[in-house]
Amino acid sequence: MTDFDAIIIGAGHNGLVCASYLAKAGKKVLVLESRAVPGGCAATHEFAPGFNVSSCAQWLYQLSPKVVSDLKLPQHGLVYAAEGLATIALDDTGDHLHLQGDSASGGGVSIEDQKAYALFRKKMRKYAKLMKTAYDTRPPKLVEHDLHDKMTFAKLGLGMKLLGKDDMSDLMRLILINIFDVMKETFQSPKLQAALALDAVIGTPMGPRSPNTVFTYLHRFMGEVLGFEGATQVKGGMGTLGVALSNAATDLGAVVRYDTSVASIDKTHDRVTGVTLTSGEQLTAKLIVSSADPKTTFKSLLGYQHMETGLARRIEQIRFKSGTVKVHLALSGLPTFTGLDPSALGQRLVIAPSLNALESAFNPLKYDESSERPVMDISIPTIHDPSLAPNGQHVLSAIVQYAPLNPKGGWEALRAPFMTAVIAELTRYAPDIASLITAQELLTPADLADTFGMTGGNWHHGELTMDQVLMTRPATGISQYQTGIDGLYLCGAGSHPGGGLMGLAGKNSAQEIIRQGELA
């Protein structure tokens, strides 16, 4: 007799989604979380007295609407502070580019580009819709066709067919090239090109000329077919989502234990039997479902010595690089961005002047160095949600690229100069910003890795590249949330379809566990 049907490692969003679905199916579920709060990357913290900010993810743009309704997240406290936000690509002379839905305006965008933009999005929507077929379920295996996999292939095949000949062959061409070339052949405006390319590279260790960046663009674009028209801001910061998920899981009967670190996953012969906590306490379950990234799960928790070498080697070879940093500024007042109406400050602001500027920012990352002129995705959440900062004061949160996990000379040497570079870049667009900063925080890839337990600081729990998606995510042979080790499943972003606060990995994994009859 085991203590639980399933023990979920990690109360990140995927862990909680998986726990909720399993609990909903009547299973006895325990979630173990090393931090004091739920949500993992969906978290809010106070970085300076009275100033709160979304710790990692700052925008919601692809959370599965099915997960939201199945788990009744609004009833459990998920409230949006703002929805359908525009993206504004900042210009240092004040000629900013506004992107809202299918329309592009300002920033010197031509009529042709405006038309091309609408057409481009139409095409991307078609492709993303096709990808959604694969995202909504376990990835199909290529060899051992069972009925479920055949259905997925049939849907994908039909979807490809329905794209029409031109769009289908174009997808095959685009998916293997890079966002730089796609932008160059589609648009003329450097600002439009760069603003879209930023979406392709954000959260990745890639530049616009890197292969795989069309796939990552489509991955992010998935939100558009999931019902998000632009970025959404969660009230109270992203932690509200974490709390709502935790409430949903608890309401469905799952137990969530915080400040509880798993030291190891226990295994006898071929089967995983439970976990040992850092306190020494041992818990048993029919299944262990890990939402930790694959390397943490297999290397740190299970131990490579407890599995066959080929599996250990495939896990070790998963690429986990990141070039992403989080910057939080406490501001005594609202900064003035040249040429930008203060009413627009609540939108999603991006700094990515041109494709070459993006590529130049990326170049140093290849040599474990940081960008001289970083690019960024900025949120001033206090516009729509003043509760995050003391009265009249503001928070600026930015996802900044590029800086390495382990810079030459270490982060202690780079921390101050990199922050200076970020503020210098912001100052080009908001000249008064430096004078308003009362507190600041920089979360390096190493900090993100430590805080959120993400190997390499990669928020996808493994780079999203063509060799690490679908049936090869996280690695060949362990693609359908199963691990080849009886009793151990995966449900985190390291599994199909990847990260980005979608909740699909957690949902698909739970459905797969139920389908396999593992807990019947």
């Binding site: 006898t268 290397k299 131990g303 407890h306 599995m307 066959e308 070498t309 080929g310 250990a312 080697r313």
Partner: protein, 394 residues
């Protein structure tokens, strides 16, 4: 036309000066990147030195890896199919190792030098795999291939030759045992192991002492008709005694390109090396499945009619091809025409009779020979002297 695929300069072993001196017919081959004699003077006479007197083979190109550290035993138990814990100190064990698919990568011998100190001798280069296997274990892996010179000293008078050289009481060493002697101010290790199926030893010294070892051994063995032998003679001896060879009788699993070409230990007749009771080793899950569902192939030793070696032959059952031959030789001592074959299951039961379709060429004329053959139980050559302790004096 077959062009040589690699133009790498071959290395010389520490015995090269002596081997070259003896290699009368100057017939050299490439063994794992080293230049080694195919034959010294006459393949058959070399072979008979193994079976009748003392034959000496330069074993130095064998890959040697030292595995040390607190987890050495656990490491080897995870890597290899057999239970390493059963190998005592100063003992040697033969084993194979598999990949996750349960397919054989290579075979080799494990020498237990101390409590947590082992040496693995493999036919293939293995450092890459050994290092991958080391993840998660507290072990150090050292490639000692170039730090050790070795001679195989095989045959009925081998013990006497070595004793004459100064390895006192060597006759008390049991099969798969090993022992250390002082030699020229250094240590010499001798193990009662070999690849010939005869009474025989392998002698391990530092490369600096290699030539001295050769000279002293040949001096001591002169009375006992000691002779060097090359790869061709070794091949006959190992076929006669039922030893398979990586790259010949199976494709090393991680070098395989075409799906399905690798073989499991069960399919190579090596199930006695697989300890499924061990909680974990590479290939275990797949091998358990194979055991439950059945293997695809069976390894068979065939006694083929006539004296034409059935090299590269098809094995036919009526009109149906049921297998192929991987190694074949006319075996002089057993006076049998032996072939190793891979037969499709369920073929290959002891006593089954088939036909070997042998093709051979004489003066540009190809001839097809249909030779009846029969699956035999175990190697045809397996003398008592191979195991007898104390070793029978000659």
């Amino acid at each position: 036309m077959n062009l040589p695929s690699r133009a790498t300069m071959l290395l010389e072993t520490p015995f090269h000066s002596r081997v070259a001196e003896r290699c009368e017919i100057n017939d050299w081959g490439n063994w794992m990147g080293y230049t080694t004699p195919n034959a010294f003077f006459d393949v058959e006479l070399e072979y008979f030195s193994i079976r009748s007197t003392t034959g000496v083979f330069d074993l130095s190109p064998m890959n040697k890896y030292r595995i040390q550290g607190p987890d050495a035993e656990a490491y080897l138990n995870r890597m290899a199919t057999r239970n390493i814990s059963k190998i005592g100190i100063n003992r040697v064990g033969y084993t194979v190792w598999c990949n996750d698919a349960g397919m054989v990568m290579d075979d080799g011998t494990i020498f237990r030098l101390g409590e947590s100190d082992y040496r693995l001798c493999s036919y293939q280069r293995a450092i890459d795999w050994l290092l991958w296997c080391a993840m998660g274990f507290d072990v150090t892996i050292t490639d000692e291939t170039e730090d050790l010179a070795a001679l195989a000293v095989q045959g009925p008078t081998s013990c006497t030759s070595l004793t004459e050289m100064g390895l006192t009481d060597l006759n008390t060493l049991k099969p798969f045992g090993m022992r250390t002697y002082d030699f020229e101010g250094e240590k010499l290790m001798v193990s009662r192991t070999g690849f010939t199926g005869d009474l025989g030893y392998e002698v391990w010294v530092s490369p600096e002492k290699a030539e001295t070892l050769w000279d002293q051994l040949f001096d001591a063995g002169k009375e006992y008709l000691i002779k060097p032998f090359g790869s061709y003679a070794l091949d006959i001896a190992r076929i006669e005694t039922g030893f398979i060879q990586a790259g010949v009788d199976f494709v090393p699993a991680e070098e395989m390109v075409r799906p399905g070409r690798a073989r499991s230990p069960f399919e190579l007749g090596l199930s006695w090396l697989v300890d499924l009771e061990k909680p974990l080793f590479n290939g275990r899950t797949a091998l358990l499945k194979e055991k439950a569902n059945g293997s695809r192939y069976r390894f068979a030793i065939l006694n083929v009619d006539g004296n034409k070696p059935a090299e590269h032959s098809f094995i036919m059952k009526g009109d149906r091809q049921i297998g192929t031959v991987t190694s074949a030789a006319w075996c002089p001592t057993a006076k049998s025409n032996i072939a190793f074959a891979q037969l499709e299951m369920p073929e290959g039961a002891i006593g089954s009779e088939y036909v070997a379709e042998i093709y051979y060429q004489r003066e540009l004329h190809w001839t097809r020979l249909l030779a009846p053959c029969k699956v035999i139980d175990g190697p045809i050559f397996n003398p008592k002297r191979r195991r007898k302790t104390p070793a029978i004096p000659h």
